[in-house]
Symmetry: C2
Amino acid sequence: MTDQATSIIAGSDSEQADVAAATAAAAEAFAAYRATSPEERAAFLEAVAAEIEADKDAIIPEAVRESSLPEARITGEVGRTTGQLRMFADVVRRGDHLGVRIDPAMPDRAPLPRADIRQRMVPLGPVAVFGASNFPLAFSTAGGDTASALAAGCPVVVKGHPAHPVTGTLVARAITRAVERSGLPAGTFSFVLGGIETGQELVADQRIAAVGFTGSRGGGLALVQAAAAREVPIPVYAEMSSINPVVVLPGALEGDVTALAEAYVASLVLGAGQFCTNPGLLFLPSGEAGDAFLRAAGAAVQRASGAPMLTPGIAEAYASGTASLRGTEGIRVIGEGTPGGDLAPAPVLYEAPAELLSLDDSTVTDEVFGASGVVVRFGDVTELLPRLEGLEGQLTATVHATDADADDAAALLPVLELKAGRILFNGWPTGVEVGHAMVHGGPFPATSDSRSTSVGSLAIERFQRPVAYQDVPAGLLPAAVRDDNPWGLRRRVDGILE
Amino acid sequence: MTDQATSIIAGSDSEQADVAAATAAAAEAFAAYRATSPEERAAFLEAVAAEIEADKDAIIPEAVRESSLPEARITGEVGRTTGQLRMFADVVRRGDHLGVRIDPAMPDRAPLPRADIRQRMVPLGPVAVFGASNFPLAFSTAGGDTASALAAGCPVVVKGHPAHPVTGTLVARAITRAVERSGLPAGTFSFVLGGIETGQELVADQRIAAVGFTGSRGGGLALVQAAAAREVPIPVYAEMSSINPVVVLPGALEGDVTALAEAYVASLVLGAGQFCTNPGLLFLPSGEAGDAFLRAAGAAVQRASGAPMLTPGIAEAYASGTASLRGTEGIRVIGEGTPGGDLAPAPVLYEAPAELLSLDDSTVTDEVFGASGVVVRFGDVTELLPRLEGLEGQLTATVHATDADADDAAALLPVLELKAGRILFNGWPTGVEVGHAMVHGGPFPATSDSRSTSVGSLAIERFQRPVAYQDVPAGLLPAAVRDDNPWGLRRRVDGILE
């Protein structure tokens, strides 16, 4: 049935189980887990954070070994992961995500009386989470999808990424201890290892109610299709593919062009370019100042050396993507660094003619996962706008501008808003802040569902649905919508927030 | 290309156009329409309501003629339609749907400073709306889907229902006048008539960003599939199929059983049973009190006569659905009314053995659109729970209970919450209040997307997505997220609602 599926179900003695056992346990746990109070659920999320911290001396070296990422980066990821869990604990305690609405009865309304109607959000059910290769902690076993689904009241079954099975298993054990310590049902969290077939089996399982995924476009679309083909289709939140366009406006080239170019290359090569928000496409003004930027960027790339990539497969895909750019007529290499070893290919920067963007050929606009960037020149904003309008959906869009560029920037904004989930000025898209206002999402194919984010507190809303209670007797109402408001929630009464 | 497609584009001289012209106009209108201020957009929604009211003496007789529904019902629907538009005007003015979140910059944070990040919701883009046959006004051309999409800032292309083309055209003309009066771009609203091919062409059109639909399961699923097969898939909010289970608990049979049975039958035959919330399945306790209820319900159905159905196709489907019930071994007729004419078949009430619910055969659980009800008996709640758990997703679930049933009712609630979008006590599911707490939605196949509602103010959230603005210069920020808060919006700052 499954290809070497291995699972940990909290509270079970064995680490050998399969997808069906994990989803059955999740389904069984759902009733008790979703009935936890905000305080109980928040305390559990904090316990998960504490158990991960307690094991960090074991987790960090394994994650470094399995991912080839530097220790400082992995240490930072532990902090991001535990911080994320604690942020969701705060969100759960505050309870705004329950979206309580009360339309009180109007028994004397004519011609018909109005019933008492109350609304709250309920969790969707067990959620399948697919960890990402490039964030073995923060977007993986206990990452943002897991944290937000648990916060919403959904049991979680994680399919660990095959690139870091030991890290995943260690984190899963920490979560499992938190489940036990918190007196929650064993199936609140399970961890499964396996290949593509295991993933397909998990998404097809009728007990799974939603899917969170971070990875490739092909992988994400396969899950979207599997979810749509079910007897009961379910939502899939897949974060898939983005080249994160950057627009440099002329005013931004009036300052220190070399510093700007070096900051760009620093973002391009960060983590061997293995970020969903890597700036893969940069629009640069024609003319001398742009030429100077390009020379400085080329030189900076030449000074950079390759860092080890996450897996041989990712290194191969990078080699094939860069070869395809190199082999395309009209594209030229502006700068190339030095390889850092076998699986540490050289960063490379290309220039491509703008015409290539309007062809059916997607060589320039396909994501090359890694430190590969393409620069396209433009004359003025009138010429640039249709190029931007022609791009696919993106996670981010960046503008470098000064006050002198205000009119151009104002013309770009409405276009960028429709293309991307996050618009940033005078910075670089790598480095996604975990907070309440963050959007890490965007129109297809950046994600499969633009109506949400996978980073930040809004992510909890992905895993819930509204239920209305009409004339339900006071003694039977869920606590969230009771008149005495035992959880002290902000409520919307007759449409007005209290 | 299209099968007799006819369209009205606001401001155009001709009423003859096609899907492509309507979607092109919508795409062109999008930028200007979404840039309207809350006040401008709210005033436009109110203008639509006023223009419909101005034409009601022309609209009402046409709607009565085309739908065979009584004048009082259609008059009520005009009020519901205009009231709905005005409710969304209030929602837009309040602006809470913009979901503004601000995480202020922390320039001195260590180890890394935090950028200024602001979030607001933006509209998805042009929305295709498919009107329902059974509500020629409130769920049709200017119905809830249109009102909520326009409120969100999305241009709308309505495919009018072929059962009431004249009503649809008259309403479309009223909306068109409101578009003109409000100085909005012509493509803000368009109306197209045509068949299934026209609908498919509309959903496949790359300019359409989301779909609202109310109708049959087959029709809804076809649109879901068409939307998923696009190069860029889009969300479909299809409200499709529900049998709205009612559970009568023993305590409820200790009062006036005859009055209760008659109220049930009144809900069953209301509007010839042509409501998505029609109570198609009732669970009744075994024993004498239940027998008395059943006798009284049978007698009430026998006294009822059929009312004209909306279309010959709907009357045929009703005949076929009731024939299938009648022809199933074990199902018996409890009461049958008298036909009210050719297209006005008799209401009918059946009793089915509980075992039929657990078979693969879905005869008892398939929706029969019309005044056909099935009663299933049960011994106690232990026996009832798995029956309810086995049902598909529903728009509503109803419980009749007294204080004596509190324990049983408490056991039912967690199951019903996972099955339905609305739970009601001691009432009947027909009659959906338009308000802020209403949920008219539910798990598949009640709808294709349980995370929303098609009635009530929450419906506006279906047509938006979040965008984050990072370090965007103050002068370029959209009004909703500016520091001076010109629209007086409630904002979430660092996670806390102001």
